[in-house]
Symmetry: C2
Subunit: 356 residues, 2 copies
């Protein structure tokens, strides 16, 4: 019961479904044509020159130069990345939550009586285009939808379902696969860090099993380097006597907020030298990273680009949101702690790979 409640809290942001799906941030068809500022040998061609790009270059230089006082042995080079809103688009709603909603028709197909039972009936209305219906969904409703789509099945069955969905599911604004909505500048950072001996781990509030389905293909990050929200497992046997793992509707690790620092210790066991995030859920990961000795890099992405992507804070007078909020308090903390704020608008020459 407590586990379910915690799970619930971890996705509390979804309460704002009604707001965000009807559009709180400027949502316009992208027509950006910024050319990447590529220079010969530039490892970060989609970044504009400026303090953010320079901070990354300086960090890699100082931690990989054996003559530097900040040199970090290869084995200790760990970098961690939030996913939603840091590596790919999180608006209007986290993809892991969209998955839960869009799985409901299949649930109803298997159990037709669900079509008349809330909250499944409500989700069906939403999926038919009635966004106002979303406002009817309460937190316990959403909890039920997540539990019904992520748990009470084997790990293998979940993997098959999520794999099918992610292969076809598209974002409504760009009409592209969610996996195409990864940020090109961050892909370059991943590649650049790995080329310099850094392990790149995802540390996400999203479901660990969900992200593992595509992380290797999309980011080059293998399952064993994905730390995410994870549920309790049960070890069972099928009728042929073969063992399998069953996903119970109970939370083991809520990988948000302080949970990110805990998840990093549990699954990686070393303090990162670099961490990248974009919202309040990343605060502890960023401060835990920065509190280490030597040169540590904590960077936080501000979505201030309504034209090419979205603009939300509420920091710096941007629109408020509950999906990936970057509060003014967090902004002030970033400045105080020496984290580097990335302005999507100013620091990124290109947002997506599919841009010309």
């Amino acid at each position: 019961m407590k586990g379910r409640r915690t799970w619930l809290i971890s996705i509390a942001v979804i309460t704002v479904l009604g707001i965000v799906l009807t559009g709180c941030a400027a949502v316009q068809k992208s027509d950006a044509t910024d050319a990447p500022a590529a220079a010969a040998g530039d490892a970060l061609p989609s970044w504009n020159d400026g303090p953010a790009k320079q901070a990354i270059l300086n960090f890699v230089q100082t931690t990989t130069d054996p003559s530097s006082p900040n040199f970090v042995p290869a084995a200790e080079r760990i970098a961690t990345f939030d996913q939603d809103g840091t590596l790919w688009v999180e608006h209007p709603l986290y993809s892991f939550a969209m998955y839960a909603l869009e799985r409901v028709p299949d649930l109803v197909k298997a159990k037709p009586e669900l079509a008349k039972v809330a909250p499944f009936s409500t989700v069906l209305e939403v999926l038919k285009g009635d966004h106002a219906a979303l406002a009817k969904l309460t937190l316990p409703d959403l909890e039920k939808v997540l539990a019904a789509t992520y748990t009470n099945r084997s790990v293998d069955a979940f993997t098959v379902q999520a794999t099918q969905w992610i292969a076809h599911a598209k974002d409504q604004r760009w009409k592209r696969l969610y996996t195409e909505l990864v940020y090109q500048p961050m892909q370059e950072v991943l590649t650049y860090l790995r080329a310099n001996g850094y392990q790149t781990h995802i540390v996400t509030g999203g479901g660990q099993d969900f992200v593992r389905v595509y992380s290797e293909r999309v980011y080059g990050i293998p399952p064993e380097q994905v730390v995410g929200t994870a549920g309790v497992l049960k070890y069972e046997y099928n009728k042929d006597g073969n063992p399998f793992l069953f996903k119970e509707p109970k939370l083991l690790l809520n990988n948000n907020d302080a949970g990110k620092a805990k998840g990093i210790h549990l699954m990686i066991g070393r303090r990162p030298y670099a961490a990248f995030g974009n919202s309040t859920g990343d605060q502890q990961m960023l401060e835990y990273t920065k509190a280490g000795d030597g040169a540590r890099l904590s960077m936080i992405l501000l979505h201030d680009d309504a034209e090419r992507e979205y603009a939300y804070g509420p920091a710096q007078g941007l629109a408020d949101t509950k999906v990936g909020a970057f509060t003014q308090a967090l902004y002030d903390e970033a400045k105080k702690q020496g984290w580097v704020v990335i302005s999507m608008k100013n620091d990124w020459a290109r947002v997506f790979a599919f841009e010309k």
Copy 2:
């Protein structure tokens, strides 16, 4: 409360302290002089020719040959190893539990009143040589000693303490550091697998934070590839405002039995292609591994060498034990499931690197 109880169960084997410390297996000074059966280019020189060695060679050959139907892509090459009794000596008592007992004098130094309070007073008697005193220790007593030495401190403080201990603590039979009591044949397997693109992970019932202290130095296995029994963490701030992780006296993952399969999924996220164990606590890891498709290797070590190490089962008529028991039922299961049993006596030409 439930967490503490589970922790307790996970170390229930320690009840037999009294028996094992007074010597249930033949304990004689090692005088083995078996020369390694090294051949030019032999990756496993400390293994005698036989079905066990051949199984390892065949497995690596068939899973790394691109023309083989059993070929495994490099990214999926995962091998998991139990530690106590599989990679190093576990008798008369697991080193992680010896650590708990031997930390008690320091606890008493900090709080002198503990010297007169059970179970700490009892442990002090034991450490002075009164092994009979061990029989007085109940399970709740032992639970208290483990909690008092592993938890209620920061991760950083624990790491410092465990690092100091492991640098100096010695086994009483060989008068050598515990870290010297690693099995040379298994070191060769680790090296051989890694040379063939396999990741080698430790999957131990011992404390994850404890094993991480020395795993890289001793086995070449970095902290992020150690899956172990782990407690709940708390994220706190010191008086300077710097964050740190605090180890609470509550269990998160009991990494024994079915917990090993769960831990593997949680922290690695792929089913291993090879797994190595030696006791009932490894059964689910071995069967979970073997149940995968393609060529999977599950191997289990039988300690049947009283002269060079220890002899215990109770499988095959060997002495009974509660520290790393290999039951006859497990032996029968191994034969039925096609796991390969390693006979320490017959399959290993050499047990320790320090042997001539």
